[in-house]
Symmetry: C2
Subunit: 306 residues, 2 copies
């Protein structure tokens, strides 16, 4: 039995060093350099190519190298394969801090003042008054974000596929309650998992239901957003601004219209960066659990996709 | 008896309208248009010229049009004159939010990402790890700022002229403890009152005692800062960055070197803007108290200067 690492578009030096240190007796290979794919029962994957999944006859566990599993093509995997993900309490704290920071940055007009500074312009304005933040997706991350916003005096509403009960948060569920959830928000935060139901959910119809002064913050996945609909909404005053940490294609294309849009704030997918150390501890633990036929941690419901 | 308004460098239309509405039976004049200065017992002042104070033989109360009283030349005032200021709980909340926002903005590298966006550069970096904020000045504003930072997981220390006891805040007092207070900070926030003891306190000697990666946030008064010492500290890596809301001269001169310094963030004295409505309620209440020989509210200890 061996462990195959298929984490693409990243420098994996530290990851492989740390994994080798955690699992000194295990054969660890990095795709595509693996002498015998039939020996592979455990794959650590991120942005893995589809052809990988058809070449592993004895695959038992796919461990995602992140909090999401949308980079894993589930439909290629036999039913008995277990999918797990990284759950890192620091990621959750970082995400809550990112969202609070970007809500406050808009409220206090930081970008507007940065631009004024570059132009040598002195023009004080009152902070934006809106205080109502809506969060789509009330999983672990969404709940942590909600709590930190509530603690800082914001009014918070939440929307999710299934009904949730969270202290000090008005919750809405299902498509029927979406309009009710959206129509009074000052900020809309997307923290949904990426599934076939949520892909492209941030579109014209949602933007049209939001107040015109609303600010979108997308920290989930680029594919939640219909990018041309966002440009349309901003250019037609259906939406005031957007802070985006995720994009359909990353890194963002150098000629993408988002870069120079005055009402879009771009951060380079840095809201919650996986800690190699924490991740490797969880990967090693799951690998040893598989070896000892123990229960794996942070498994994913494959039908739900999260 | 009449009320004289001497608030310079501002458009006072809304202020005078609101005051006249609150005090319909009172003669309210705007400096220098006052038929009889001997009738004036109550002055509302902000950036008042020194010559004003020598022309008011019957002055009893000077009401500052703000939280600070540094715009009032105390040494010109006879000892029996009472000085009062505006205390607005919204100002306190706004100040706490401003400081939290600017600490978080630096921590999450917002300015760095704004500049990268303008250049079309995609370069994710981990957030700054430092979590220790020091606050100079532990009055009402300083304490509110400290509490909001503590609530958001920051380690907070405080320094003030007299000893204070604040839950979850390590406090230091007097010049002797200044070095101990400064030497481990990641952020230094100035919220001191401006007095002869605190003027120019943010100088080379303080910057040299701070860790090199420390960020200065000045939200008190421009005169606390020796401006050329800040430039020296930033250019010699004695300090990492500064967020400044206040300046020796406001608006900031168009050719001031702060505008284009890459490590200085400028906001146009907007951290906590006085609400005309709230201020006028307090001014009217104090005017009527003087008329009825009642106790005035928010009076200032003239020897301390705050």
């Amino acid at each position: 039995m061996s462990l195959l690492v298929c984490v693409t578009r990243k420098d994996n030096t530290k990851l492989l060093d740390t994994l080798n240190a955690q699992l000194p007796d295990v054969d660890i290979y990095e795709w595509p350099h693996c002498p015998d794919l039939a020996q592979v029962e455990f794959v650590l994957a991120w942005n893995a190519p589809d052809e990988l999944w058809t070449q592993l006859p004895n695959l038992k566990v796919v461990q995602s190298y992140g909090a999401g599993v949308d980079g894993i093509a589930m439909h290629f995997l036999p039913e008995h394969v277990t999918v797990t993900r990284i759950v890192d309490s620091q990621l959750t704290k970082d995400m809550a801090q990112y969202v609070l920071t970007h809500v406050l940055a808009h409220k206090l007009r930081l970008k507007q003042y940065f631009v004024q500074q570059q132009q040598g312009v002195w023009k004080p304005k009152r902070a934006h008054q809106g205080n109502h933040v809506g969060i789509m997706g009330l999983g672990e991350l969404g709940q942590a974000v909600a709590n930190q916003l509530v603690d800082n005096g914001f009014k918070v509403s939440g929307w999710s596929a299934s009904e949730k009960n969270i202290a000090n948060v008005a919750t809405y569920a299902s498509q029927e309650q979406l309009e009710l959830f959206l129509h009074k928000l000052d900020y809309l935060v997307c923290l949904l998992p990426l599934t076939k139901h949520t892909k492209g959910i941030l579109d014209k119809s949602v933007f049209s239901l939001l107040p015109n002064h609303c600010v979108l913050i997308n920290v989930a996945r680029g594919q939640h957003l219909v990018e041309e609909d966002l440009i349309w909404a901003l250019d037609n005053n259906e939406l005031a601004a957007a802070s985006l940490d995720v994009f359909t294609q990353e890194p963002l294309d150098s000629d993408h219209p988002f870069w120079l849009h005055p009402n879009i704030t771009i951060t380079p997918h840095c809201a919650a960066l996986t800690s190699v150390t924490t991740a490797c501890e969880q990967i090693a633990k799951n690998y040893l659990s598989l070896l000892n036929s123990d229960k794996l941690t942070n498994t994913v419901d494959r039908t739900k996709g999260y």
